[in-house]
């Protein structure tokens, strides 16, 4: 809502600088987003009439205009596209000063070789409005030579206000003036609704019937005769422009002016174009149509409230008028509609038809039913003054079910409890009365709310009013005690944090990716139809750039992130994301939301460094090592078994299992999949659910450490090539029981020194006991036993052993 202070000062006698007023409004809930200083003092600018337009000999886009300024003709050069013979515009004589010159005076000039004796100005140059697209077009009735400052003051300050949805009453000059009055104590001066009536009674000239009282509880109207359509006065045009509206003609401008002034939307019908001079407010019939003022032909249905005459719809009620009852240059008899419509019905219709107008945006938030006759009367008064019309006697006002004023009880103690204040009952009553709320004092305050404040329904609404006018800055601050035992992080939350920390410590950077993907990603990844990853949840109204379904895996997002990075020259990728994937459930049920961590590795491992001869690329075991560090930090035992995934390279992918349940997958991205995302080279991807890991996490336990060094032995075992290393290691660990404190695989060998079809696995073993009594002999005896068992159980053969 743009509020011109020059206009606002008509309705409230405040006196303070604009900056102070802006602060007062902002700190009471009507935020002033911008303060726009408009214009400067204008001198030497008059109404000029364009008598002749000639081509400029040296420039295609420029014209030479002969302008009459009330005394003499001037030849000027002008480039405005809207220049025409007979036009009245703002003519600045040489020596003039106006806003666009920022303090200087207009000099005579030669433009492309032609002398220009003055200039025609745009509204923006003069500071009248912000239209710089052409020169200011003035009404035909304004005599050449008239000083522009007489017809339009150009100095103004405009507030751009943010009106919250609960305050439709502030979408008007009068509403803002009421706020200013309540805040400053200044006197409110409402506009005059007095009508100088004559001629036939309005009721004889027109008839109004409301068939749908739900949709239209009140319809007021005035009838004007003898209207002369023409331009509205420049002061009104300037005010409309300042409010962001385009001047059209006096009748339309007056309806818009009253809309901004009172917040009451109006519509003017050419009475002679209404069949039987009758207005019927009803639901449209299915199949009826109307061409609205924006030139669009619209098919109507029985949900749409229309204003009709005896034959056809002539307006979409509260939203937009129709073309064939529009006021035109020939109109003389006019019906001014000022009605009250049901907000929901307007909201739904405007949403359904996709039209929003100044009118609908006010009605859909709720208008004041008691203001309807004022709107009609105010417009009639202005048309009488500015468009030569006669106001017919009497008003038409169909209002069968009067709205009952709202009364609310307020407990002053409750207000202080909510606000944290110690206000007296009198202070509260004073604030409410300043807002035109009637107050009856008692133990409770019994209040009656004015009809324009239909947002006030409950005690809390009044408490809010008291708080914002009292001033939130005056409320004393305090700190609550907090949640005590329940405060702080849970163990699970801390563990999730340590997953992040472990990833970061291993050189992976965190990425944040949109939670959407394309359904086609699932095809690209070759996800089979039975896989849960196919349970992607479609979005009804997606944005094309983000994808149409909720993601069921982090992979596509990570691949696209990798692609963006490689395209920008960042080829070494070590990234992770922790976020949710979504698996659809039955219709009507919310989906499963599962938190997962995704990891993607590619290119050179770690940091390139001057002291390292060759920088090696990431491989499968880097990825697995990262995962193992996470499970170590959490104290969870995770086992890995071969697990095929269509998007992972065959033979290079594994499932992560906790107690037999799969919790994640790691592997090399299938090169063809990488290719279909535009990537080349080796990519390693892992994805696991955080929930089961955190769930399986156990507190660390204390084991006594012996005072003597452990007995260390390295052994190499020859086993079948196909035997998984994990099987050998697990067997060793099982057999080792108490005394084997650690077993670490440190070498894998295949080659000439061992038979074909076999491999050699080398393990570093440590034996020890907590009481420190383990002797070398005991340890070696134990090792003998273990080796024998390995030979028997797994067909392993001892290749060698080194005592350390």
């Amino acid at each position: 809502m743009r509020v011109s202070l020059e206009w606002l000062s008509d309705y409230v006698e405040y006196s303070m600088p604009p900056g102070k007023l802006a602060d007062l409004l902002s700190l009471s809930g009507t935020a002033v987003d911008r303060v726009i200083e408009m214009g400067a003092e204008t001198t030497g600018v008059v109404v000029g009439e364009v008598l002749e337009v000639k081509d400029h000999p040296n420039a295609d886009k420029l014209k030479i205009a002969v302008v009459y300024d009330g005394f003499e003709n001037h030849e000027i050069v002008c480039g405005a596209p809207n220049l025409f013979v007979g036009m009245k515009s703002a003519f600045a004589r040489v020596g003039a000063s106006f806003s666009g010159l920022s303090g200087g005076k207009l000099k005579g000039a030669k433009i492309r070789g032609i002398a220009s004796d003055g200039m025609l100005c745009s509204g923006a140059e003069l500071g009248i409005n912000d239209d710089a697209s052409g020169i200011l077009e003035l009404g035909e009735g304004t005599p050449p030579g008239t000083n522009l400052s007489d017809i339009a003051p150009t100095r103004d300050v405009i507030f751009d206000l943010e009106i919250t949805p609960n305050r439709p009453d502030c979408m008007s000059m009068l509403g803002v003036a009421r706020e200013v009055a309540a805040l400053t104590g200044a006197r409110l001066v409402p506009p005059s609704y007095e009508c100088n009536e004559s001629g036939s009674p309005a009721g004889d000239l027109a008839k109004v019937i409301i068939e749908d009282l739900e949709g239209c509880p009140r319809y007021s109207a005035r009838v004007m005769t003898g209207i002369e359509i023409g331009p509205s006065p420049l002061w009104m045009q300037r005010r409309l422009v300042a409010a962001g509206l385009r001047p059209i003609n006096n009748v339309v401008d007056i309806t818009n002016y009253v809309l901004i002034e009172l917040g009451q939307p109006l519509h003017a019908f050419d009475l002679d174009l209404l069949a039987e001079n009758t207005i019927v407010v009803r639901k449209a019939d299915f199949g009826e149509q109307i061409t609205t003022l924006d030139g669009v032909e619209r098919q109507l249905d029985d949900k749409t409230l229309v204003i009709a005459d005896r034959k056809r719809p002539v307006a979409l009620a509260g939203i937009m008028g129709g073309e064939d009852s529009e006021v035109s240059g020939d109109s003389t008899r006019i019906l001014i509609e000022s009605a009250h419509f049901d907000p929901t019905s307007i909201y739904l219709t405007s949403k359904r038809l996709g039209i929003r107008s100044e009118s609908s945006s006010r009605f859909e938030r709720g208008s004041d039913p008691e203001a309807a006759p004022h709107g009609a009367a105010r417009a009639a008064r202005l048309m009488n003054q500015l468009a030569g019309g006669t106001i017919s006697r009497g008003e038409i006002d169909v209002y069968p079910r009067r709205t009952v004023p709202v009364t609310i009880d307020l407990r002053p103690s409750r207000a202080n409890e909510i606000l944290g204040t110690r206000m007296t009952t009198d202070e509260m009553a004073g604030i409410l009365e300043g807002l035109e709320i009637a107050v009856e004092k008692g133990e409770k305050l019994r209040t009656t709310v004015p009809s324009f404040r239909w947002d006030l329904e409950r005690e809390i609404d009044l408490i809010e009013e008291i708080g914002r006018i009292y001033g939130l800055d005056k409320i004393e601050e305090a700190i609550p005690v907090g949640g005590g035992l329940n405060a702080g992080l849970t163990r699970k939350q801390k563990l999730i944090g340590s997953i992040d920390d472990t990833l970061l410590a291993q050189g992976l950077s965190e990425v944040v990716v949109y939670s959407f993907m394309n359904e086609s990603d699932l095809d690209l990844l070759r996800i089979p139809s039975y896989n849960p990853m196919r349970r992607a949840l479609p979005v009804i109204n997606p944005l094309t750039e983000t994808g149409g379904v909720m993601r069921t895996t982090l992979l596509p997002g990570m691949l696209n992130t990798a692609l963006r990075n490689t395209n920008r020259g960042n080829r070494d990728i070590a990234i992770f994301e922790r976020g949710r994937v979504f698996l659809s459930n039955d219709p009507g049920e919310l989906p499963e939301e599962i938190e997962v961590v995704g990891i993607l590795l590619a290119g050179v491992r770690g940091l390139k460094n001057w002291s390292v001869e060759t920088n090696e690329n990431y491989d499968f075991f880097d990825l697995k090592g990262i995962m193992e560090n996470i499970s170590d930090v959490l104290g969870v035992s995770v086992s890995y078994k071969p697990e095929d995934r269509a998007y992972l390279a065959p033979g290079r992918s594994a499932g992560m299992f906790i107690d037999g349940d799969m919790v994640g997958v790691i592997g090399q991205l299938h090169p063809e999949i990488a290719g279909s995302y535009g990537l080349d080279g080796e990519y390693y991807f892992g994805e696991f659910m955080t929930g089961p890991l955190v769930e399986a996490s156990r507190e660390n336990t204390y084991k006594k450490v012996g005072r003597f060094p452990n007995v260390k032995v390295d052994i190499a075992l020859i086993v079948e090539e196909t035997l998984p290393a994990s099987t050998v290691l697990e067997k060793l660990t099982d057999l080792g029981a108490e005394l084997l404190v650690s077993a670490r695989l440190f070498d894998v060998y295949q080659g000439n020194q061992i038979p074909g079809g076999k491999k050699s696995l080398a393990f570093a073993l440590e034996f020890g006991s907590a009481d420190g009594t383990l002797t070398d002999e005991q340890a070696h005896g134990e090792l003998e036993r273990i080796i024998k068992e390995m030979e028997n159980g797994l067909g392993a053969e001892l290749r060698g052993r080194i005592n350390l």
Binding site: R352, I460, G467, V481, T490, S515
Partner: protein, 360 residues
Amino acid sequence: MAEKERLDELTGTREDLASIKNEAFSTVESCRTQEDIEAARVKLLGKKGLITGIFKSISGAEAEEKPVIGEIGNLLRELINEGLQAKSETMAEEALVASLAENEVDVTLPGRKTALGHKHLISQVIDEIVSIFLGLGYRIETGPEVELDYYNFEALNTPVYHPARSLQDTFYIQREDPEHDNSNDILLRTHTSPVQVRVMEASSPPLYVISPGKAYRRDEIDATHAAMFFQVEGFAVDKGLNMGHLKGTLEVFVRKLFGKDRKVRFRPHFFPFTEPSAEVDVSCFACDSAGCSVCKGSGWLEILGCGMIDPNVLKYVGYDPDEFTGFAFGMGAERVAMMRYGIEDLRVLTENDLRFLRQF
């Protein structure tokens, strides 16, 4: 030195022994290497050495000379041993210094670092916000991102057709009726406030909760709009909470986040689920409230929305608004990050360019 003087005194009358003494001392003095020291030891103290020779000469000497020669031999042996020992230690020390000097390193070369990852800026901002509230006695709760209309709107006092709904463009997953909102509709939550309702339904006061998470709005993506963003929601429900507690809490929070010199102001505002509601501004840290391009000349930056939880919201979850009151607040993590680091385009946050991520 007493030994040296005694020796000089004893050899004063024996020219032959004095010359042996001088030769022995100059031999020790001339040692330059460990090999020299070994050679000197053989030459002087070995089986055929000069000093050994002195002892051998005792047997053929006059009786009264015998003790003198013996003493000279002993003194010489002692002094030679000391001299060689000192020589050897000095040499070892010099050799160590020389070898270290030879292997001098360029201490300005970069160290051998392990790679460290970078937490996303947004996560860092969220962590910081959350940790302030953990310090104030809050706990973390989260809720679903795919949510029912009921939790996202209706239970938050935003019934069907409420004008506040038109403020937010919502992504829908399932609609009962394409034209009308319905509380069973499934949507992507447009804010983190549904967590309020879910937590209040599941537990009872006192509640001091902070809830960070993703929210979604169907905005065309540009420099200042994202279709997905991170909100941090907080709320407290307890006996006797009022606007003063809300102000005190947020004032502490804002000044901990942006610096204790910042000023904070509360502007009344409207949200469907709080009443009274307010927006919170922090004094601009780019210009210290003088007015600049960052704060669009106002001297203030909007940072939070907040208010007392609407009694209707409390009633929805079965609380008695006369017994318990509460406040709630919410902020966008992106906005905090953008303001703090002068980031002009939101999109860098989801582009994940490693060159961007490594800056934080």
